[in-house]
């Protein structure tokens, strides 16, 4: 009895109490008691849930509420540099000041519109480029012999483990006017004088595609590797040539992988800051960079918060698509 500890003892007492109550005709009370007890017994389980839950609420959800709150307040020269959303005036009046000005400002000022649109454009183009480069690679790895597959996969993941910042930085050396690529092209005789590549949109695209390519390849690989090869054989057997088999069988079945990979590239690319800051022109308008500048440059916390909220709204749709896709995937697997 002692080895089983308190739950066993309480369990026995509860069962006896239950049967006593039932015999006394108090069935309702017995059921109620049983329910209460079960809840107490779930204490351990609830505690397990509560620990990560509390952390994420405190450090992930509540901060967003605060961002929203500050986005609705006024900038001020103070510490912290914004006005409070509510104030007690005298003893009875709760004075709530909601300032929609920051959002109006985003709508009215062309700069924000342009940078939102440009961010989406850059992210879209980069996503498509990632897909075009990543799909054949993922397909090739998935169809390679299993000994090679592990090595090739490791080669895809390896850059991902090295510093993102340093990998972006590497492109500066390549794209500079007197950098590797220009020197190489001039040596080939393709060009006479260096092409300006650094600090252009091209460099930003290149940087994003380069940095996020593994995010495209990995989910695609995971999907293509699962592809049942007998389906392809069945298609060949029914007279379908390889190219057409790819279009009618492989491609439609890899749509979940395509969606997952595309969203994993698109979503962070929209809010990207480091790549446009290092490789883009000073006037490359990307929303992540605008937010950074509002915050660190202008110290306008309310506008920066409003930019963040707007960016989040922009990303809600792709995030929902991604979540939905993942949920359907895991359902299909089980």
């Amino acid at each position: 009895m002692t080895t089983r500890g308190i739950p066993a003892v309480t369990g026995r007492i509860i069962r006896q109490a239950e049967s006593l109550l039932k015999r006394a005709g108090l069935e309702g009370l017995a059921i109620w008691l049983a329910r209460r007890v079960r809840r107490v017994r779930h204490l351990g389980r609830n505690l397990v849930i509560a620990i990560p839950y509390a952390w994420l609420l405190a450090f992930f959800l509540i901060p967003f509420v605060i961002v929203l709150k500050i986005a609705l307040s006024d900038a001020a020269i103070a510490q912290p540099p914004y006005t409070p959303l509510w104030e007690w005036v005298g003893d009875q009046y709760l004075n709530i000041k909601v300032n929609l000005g920051n959002f109006m400002f985003l709508v009215e000022d062309n700069l924000y519109w342009k940078s939102y649109l440009n961010s989406v454009k850059v992210a879209l183009v980069s996503t498509v480029a990632c897909l075009l480069i990543g799909y054949p690679m993922a397909y090739g790895i998935a169809r390679a012999k299993s000994a090679y597959r592990t090595i090739l996969l490791m080669l895809v993941i390896l850059p991902f483990w090295t510093s993102f910042l340093i990998r972006v930085y590497a492109w500066i050396g390549i794209l500079k006017n007197n950098g590797l690529l220009n020197n190489f092209l001039m040596w080939l005789g393709v060009i006479d004088s260096p092409i300006v590549m650094l600090q252009t949109d091209f460099a930003v695209y290149l940087g994003i595609v380069y940095s996020y390519l593994p995010f495209m390849i990995l989910p695609l690989y995971a999907n293509l590797e699962k592809l049942d090869e007998t389906l392809l054989e069945a298609a060949y057997d029914l007279g379908c040539k390889p190219a057409r088999t790819f279009l009618t069988v492989t491609l439609p079945l890899s749509v979940p992988g395509i969606i997952a990979g595309s969203m994993l590239v698109f979503i962070p690319a929209v809010g990207e800051f480091v790549i446009p800051a290092l490789l883009g022109a000073p006037d490359t308008l990307m929303i992540g960079r605008i937010l950074w500048d509002e915050f660190f440059g202008n110290r306008d916390w309310p506008v920066a918060s409003a930019v963040a909220i707007a960016l989040l709204l922009l990303l809600v749709i792709p995030i929902v698509i991604l979540q939905h896709n993942q949920a359907r995937n895991s359902e299909a697997n089980s």
Binding site: D228, T230, L231, E233, A234, A235, Y236, D237, L238, G239, C240, K241, P242, R244, T248, V249, P252, L253
Partner: protein, 379 residues
């Protein structure tokens, strides 16, 4: 029908004028060091239902995949209708296959799956539609045309796979364990359906299976495979009643084999002395074995009679004690222990309900058989 008039039954392999439809000519397939198919030659005739029977890993599926064109033979030739199949990719072969996993396209519904093969040919939409409808009717799936594979039962999926592989009206259909995924009742039912369809359409079937019952029911001929070789080819009756080797005898049904030496070797009969028993076995046919050679006398459990009383014969009788009885419903299995400890398996039909005279545990019994029931095997 090309069969000659001398044969009333369907036995084209006995007709020297008949040309084989599928000719497998000394085919070998190696995967690295592993020899999956070892120098197999096999002729299969038009409208046959040929079963390749063997345990898993015996090379039967590899042989089938070479016919379909998914594997290339390491050496040897495969001819279909007189045409060499080397270098011909699967999508250009006049052959269709039904996969063990069915390999239904999960993103297409039943009618899209079935029509897939036709869409690869230049046919009008109307023709495709009619033929798909006919085919769905044949396999009784008309009402499920719009369902996706995951919304179907195992039996329905199996019929979709069959319909899909038959829609192009192939002259040769390869079936890889077509019934393995079905439960026993459904499997028995589907066996007969499969035979009906084969007869109706006049297609040549090659079926790969590990289930001897299935092979016996379906096949015109069976090829028993063992470790890459063909152990024996023959009709179900030949394979069962006249197995060519101990392996085949053991693999198909169950068998009691008694090791012994030939003591009398005449053209019309032989006598075998059992090694571990004081018993002579009389066989009423000649055997092609050297005198004094070591042989095995094999006998099927149902061909042994069991009785309490001495049948009064000098040969083909052994005494023993009933160790175990298993009641199977339509028949019972008796395990009878002989002197020296080895057991013999005997089956008896349960002809009467609740027979009070039935032989029971620990009884002393006599086992005896007819001289024609013995098959003498040398290996």
């Amino acid at each position: 029908m090309a069969s000659s008039t001398t044969f009333s039954t369907f036995e084209p392999w006995k007709d020297p004028a008949e040309k084989p439809y599928v000719c497998i000519d000394r085919v070998t397939k190696k995967f690295g060091d592993f020899v999956a198919v070892n120098d197999i030659s096999l002729d299969i005739y038009r409208k046959e239902l040929f079963c390749l029977l063997g345990a898993s890993g015996c090379g039967k599926s590899t042989l089938l995949r070479m016919l379909a064109g998914f594997e290339e033979a390491s050496s040897g030739r495969i001819l279909i209708d007189g045409m060499d199949m080397a270098e011909i990719p699967p999508y250009e072969r006049p052959v269709n296959m039904m996969f063990q996993s069915y390999a239904l396209f999960p993103h297409m519904n039943v009618s899209q799956n079935v029509s897939f093969g036709l869409k690869q040919e230049k046919l009008t939409g109307q023709v495709i539609k009619t033929r798909v409808e006919e085919m769905l009717e044949l396999v009784k799936l008309t009402q499920f045309a719009k369902r996706k594979p995951h919304q179907l039962s195992g039996g329905q999926r199996q019929r979709v796979a069959l319909a899909r592989s038959l829609i192009k009206r192939p002259k040769l259909l390869l079936l890889d364990e077509p019934l393995a995924a079905l439960d026993k009742k459904l499997r028995e039912h589907t066996q007969f359906e499969l035979m009906n369809i084969q007869e109706q359409l006049g297609v040549t079937f090659i079926v790969v299976t590990h289930d001897q019952q299935e092979a016996m029911t379906l096949a015109t001929r069976i090829g028993v495979m063992e470790e890459g070789y063909i152990a024996q080819v023959g009709t179900p009756t030949e394979i069962y009643e006249f197995p060519g080797s101990r392996f085949v005898a053991d693999f198909i049904g169950s068998v009691n084999s008694f090791e012994g030496r030939i003591t009398v070797d005449e053209p019309d009969h032989v006598i075998i002395r059992m090694l571990d028993q004081d018993v002579d076995i009389f066989v009423d046919h000649g055997v092609s074995a050297s005198p004094n050679a070591r042989v095995w006398a094999a006998i099927r459990p149902e061909k042994i009679h069991i009785s309490r009383t001495d049948p009064g014969q000098a040969r083909n009788v052994i005494r023993g004690k009933v160790k175990e009885i298993a009641y199977m419903g339509d028949f019972s299995i008796y395990l009878v222990e002989l002197a020296g400890g080895r057991t013999v398996r005997v089956t008896q039909p349960n002809l009467r309900r609740g027979d009070p005279e039935r032989i029971t545990w620990d009884e002393q019994v006599f086992l005896h058989w007819l001289p024609s029931s013995i098959v003498v095997l040398t290996e």
